[in-house]
Structures are given as C-alpha cells and as structure tokens.
Amino acid sequence: MFDNLSGRFNEIFQQLRRRGKLSEADVDAVLREVRLALLEADVHYSVVKSFVTRVRERAVGHEVSKALNPAQQVIKIVHEELINTLGEPDRLNLSGPKPRVVMMVGLQGAGKTTATAKLAKILRSQGERVLLVAADPYRPAAVKQLQTLGQQIGVDVYTREGVKPPDLAAQAFDMAQKSGVSAMVIDTAGRSQLDDALMQELQAIARRVPVNETLLTVDSMIGQEALHIAEGFRDSVKLTGLVLTKMDGDSRGGAAISIRSVTGVPIKYLGTGEGLDALESFDPRRLASRILGMGDMIGLIERA
C-alpha cells in the first residue's frame, strides 16, 4: 500500500512541475490522493472531509518553495496540519493531594489492563508509590491478570471479591491515603459506550474517588467507529487523555486523528508491545507520517 501511494504521487509530480503559487487544480489533484490515504488509515469519513477542506483553504494560492514541487508542497501542508491536529504529547497530570487517581476506560480487549500495569511501572520509576486497583469483576480472571502483572513489576494490587467497582475504588482510595500511596491506577472492565449501566458505573467511580486522569484506551487497529466510541465515553466521563495501543503492528492509527479532533483529548501514550516496558510517549511528526502512509516522501520533503 505504501509503495502504491508513492507511485501515485510520483505520477502527480510528473504532471505538476510548474513553480509559483499553488493552483486549485494542483491542490485538488493531491488532495484526492490524501483523502484516500486518510480513509485507508481509518480516519473518520467526516473528519477527513473537514480536514481536506481546511487544507485546501490553506494551500490554494500558497507560494511554492524553491526546493519543492507543487505536489510536495501540498503534502507538506497536509503533514503540518496533521501534526497540528495530533498536538503535542501531553504528560500525566499528577497534581493535587495524594493519592492521585488514574482511571483506565475503553472497549473490551483494547488493552486497558496491560496499559494499567505499564503505567504503574513508569510511575514507580518516577518515584511514585503506586497501587493498582482491580475494578473488573466481570471478565473471567481479569483480577488474576492484573495481580500477575502487578507481581511482575512488584506493585501491589488492591482486590476485594464481591465488592462493586465504585465501592472497591473508594476502599482502595482510603487504604492508599492511609498508607502513603501517591498514585493509584484503576483498571476497569471493558465496556461499550452504549451500555448505560456500565457507563453509569464509571460515573459512580468518579463520584467516589477524585480522579485526576481518565484515560481512554483505544486499539490502534480500530475503524471508523472510533469517533462515536470516543464521543460516547466523553459524554459519560470527563476524558483527559488517550492511550493508543498495539501500535507495534502495521495499522496506520488514523483513529488518533478522529478522536483528537472530535474530543480534543490529548494523546498521552502509545502502547507498542505486550511487554510491560512498551508504553511510549509519541512523536506527532512520526505519527502523522504513519497515518498519511508516505514515510519516504515526508522524509524527502523535510530534508528539502
């Protein structure tokens, strides 16, 4: 697919050798391909539409730089706009009284439990005293999974059988406060944004404990529905960050653009493997190139 795209662009390059200002025709020819690239990357249809309109406005009449041909110039603008949309990586907000609370939320199988443990590991390395809270009583062996991961990284896991997640979170918070824990990460069960009862459960947790961060965990392989899912979670709980998981595969991760532009929630981490060290901050330039699927060309443009 990547080769394919470069090929298509090279064709356009052949046709666009003129210098001067970018014409509507130049811009439209390139934006047709950009639109396809973004849709193939799973950026939401409506987000692509408004993005392309925005770029078009910016690009038409733009001066073509000496080093670039018109097509490259448009791509440069596209790339910049994508970077702007993605925003800078945001750090975890751990201010206020201790313990600070992070709550992980998201669809089934997105990678919450794994990310919970990864985050705990990072926090501990920053000198925090961390407690993990196993607030998924539904999935078989979900508690055991978190306990096992906790053991692997040497972090305590709070569990109570038969206690509902909001009560469990409150109890864990009390204990954390008394025992000098500085950061508490709550692993919640996977749920659909349309499941009212389970969405209310998240709200109940947030009423019982002061949540600093609510991180929506999203599988980077997700398709168009990412946008509605993010909206659904945002409408129920106050999302403060996004974790994009399974970035070690070959998905393009277009959901990042959709979610970011619709909710404005900053991307905080990328999951890049099953191992507990594989949680990274992200580089907007690299992520933008990946979503656009034209790494070589971006390199070329950036060197120009």
């Binding site: 396809l36 849709l39 193939e40 990357a41 799973d42 939401h44 249809y45 409506s46 669809l107 089934q108 199988g109 997105a110 990678g111 539904y138 999935r139 078989p140 062996a141 979900a142 055991k144 999974q145 978190l146 306990q147 096992t148 991961l149 692997q152 659909s192 944004q193 349309l194 599988d219 392989m221 997700i222 398709g223 168009q224 529905e225 990412a226 509605h228 899912i229 659904g232 399974k246 070690d248 595969g249 070959d250 998905s251 393009r252 277009g254 959901a255 099953e274």
Partner: protein
C-alpha cells in the same frame, strides 16, 4: 427466526445514530449526486473501505441505469441485494466429520479468541458433544486462568500447560488425550499475536504442525477471530494468518458493539474465507451462526 431477531435486537440499540440517515435519504429523494455521496459516506463509515464502497456504488449505478430507477427509495432493495451477493454462504457442513475434531483459534491480541473458544465449547456441548478445551496461551498473564474459569462455568474439561511453557506441547497433549478419551471436539485457544510479529507467527505455525503430529489431519479447522470494530487493518490480519496457518473460516466478534464490521466484504472478496459465526456479547450464549441477512440488515436498520 429467533436467532435472527436476537441479532437484530442486539444491533437495534446501536444502529440508530449512524444509520437513521440511510432510510431518510433513500426513502424520499430522487437519485442524484447527493444520493451517491451519502451512500459512500454510509458505506465507508461502516468500515467497508473506500475501495469496496466505490465498487458497490459502481455496481449500483449500473443497475440504476439498466432498470431506469429514479427514486432513491428503489435503491435500498438493490443495495441490500448487492451487499448480500458479496457475502459467501456458510459452507455445509461447516466442519468435517472427524473424531476428535480439532479447531485452532487464532487472531491478534484481544480480538476475542478465548471467549469465543468458550462459547463454541458451550454450543457443541449443547449438541451433546464431548468437548475439551486446550489453553495454549501460555504467554499472556492469567490467560490459562481465564479459560479455566470458563471451563468451570460451562463444565468443560481444560488441558493447560505451565505459564511460559510450550504452546505446541499443550495442543499435543490435549489432542492426544482427547483421542484416548473419546472426545468429539478439541478447541485450542492460542495467544493473541500481531500478524506482523515474525517469531510469534512462527510459533503459531509450530502449534499447527504439532497438532498434525498428535493426530493426522489436525487441526481440521483454523478459525480467525476478528474484532468487528477493526478497520482496514483487518484485511492484512486475515491475509497473514491465512498464509501462516491456512485459516478456514472467520469469526466476527463484538458485532454487538456499535461497529458494523464492514471489512468482512473485502476479506471475503480478497481471501474467499467464509464468515462462520458472529460474536454478539460477552456471555457464553452470545454466539450465532453468521447470518448474511441479519448482518446486512444491521447495516441499514434504524
């Protein structure tokens, strides 16, 4: 009929948002450029991908010309048929007549393999079959425990290895013991792995080969569990798993979510793999034979 209805009720609550529009625009207006644009938006948003969507629209345009259709209302039936034609019927029989019959569950991380293995186990057991579950995910934390909990709940025996142990050995032991003890089915749950990870795909190939050593002809079925919320990457996944372990069918999980699973069309077209089952929830009974009609209706239901 009951199944069909259950599927639709499941879909019902989720479809209103995105698909209220189709009947709105297909119901009233004359066919014009807006109709086609709206249709493209609809299909792409259902994750059919731009290529398949364009292809469907091209086919529809032809029908419109040939049959002299003018109202977009008339399009809706044609569209439905066009989509139905693009889904393979479930092959009869789904499974060969073997005893024990070995099914290997494969897929990327978190797609729903373990849950689906349990659901299948329950279905077969309900048909009076003796089912053995094999916990060959020795890698992920508490993956074995997860299948064991299912085994206890459903009253199905589970063969498990040690965490960190050899998944091939688990499959081997399970198949041999099933053969010795007169079981009908062995369902082998494997660890989730991204299709791009060379070593992990090699490991899966080994599980496949070792199964054949335990029992000639095994595994008799290799089912790829695909999360219906997956976008364009689904095709790459299906390609890679098919190439590595000769996938024989697809199970589309999490179809009860708000996603439509439109990648199924491209996968059928490109790889010719039938979609056998739909996962429609987290409970053991939430698995049904894939129903093309319900699937396509789900796309248009509002």
């Amino acid at each position: 009929m009951l199944m069909f209805n259950k599927w639709l009720t499941g879909l019902d609550r989720t479809r209103k948002v995105a698909f209220g529009r189709i009947s709105a625009f297909l119901g009233v207006s004359e066919i014009n450029q807006n109709t086609w644009d709206d249709l493209e938006a609809l299909l792409v948003q259902a994750d059919l991908g731009i290529e398949t969507s364009t292809d469907v629209i091209r086919a529809l345009k032809q029908v419109v010309v040939e049959n002299g259709l003018t109202r977009s209302e008339e399009l809706s039936q044609v569209l439905k048929q066009e989509l139905l034609n693009r889904l393979l019927p479930i092959p009869e029989p789904v499974l060969p007549d073997q005893k024990p019959l070995v099914i290997l569950m494969v897929g990327v991380n978190g797609s729903g393999k373990t849950t689906t293995a349990a659901k299948l186990g329950k279905q077969f057991a309900n048909q009076g079959k003796k089912v053995l579950l094999a916990a060959a995910d020795t890698y992920r934390a508490a993956a074995v425990d997860q299948l064991q909990v299912w085994g206890e709940r459903l009253n199905l025996p589970v063969v498990a290895g040690q965490p960190g142990g050899d998944p091939g050995a688990v499959a081997f032991d399970a198949i041999q013991s099933a053969a010795a003890r007169g079981f009908d089915y062995v369902i082998v749950d494997t660890a989730g792995r991204l299709h791009t990870r060379y070593n992990l795909m090699e490991e899966l190939k080994k599980v496949y080969r070792v199964s054949g050593k335990a029992l000639s002809g095994a595994p008799h079925a290799v089912w790829l569990v695909l999360d219906a919320t997956t976008g364009q990457n689904a095709l790459q996944q299906a390609k890679a798993f098919k190439e590595a372990v000769q996938v024989t069918g697809i199970i589309l999980s999490k179809l009860d979510s708000s996603a439509r699973g439109g990648m199924a069309f491209a996968i059928q077209k490109t790889l010719g793999l039938p979609i056998l089952y739909a996962g429609l929830g987290e409970k053991p009974e939430d698995l049904e034979h894939f129903d093309r009609e319900a699937f396509v209706n789900g796309i248009f239901h509002n």
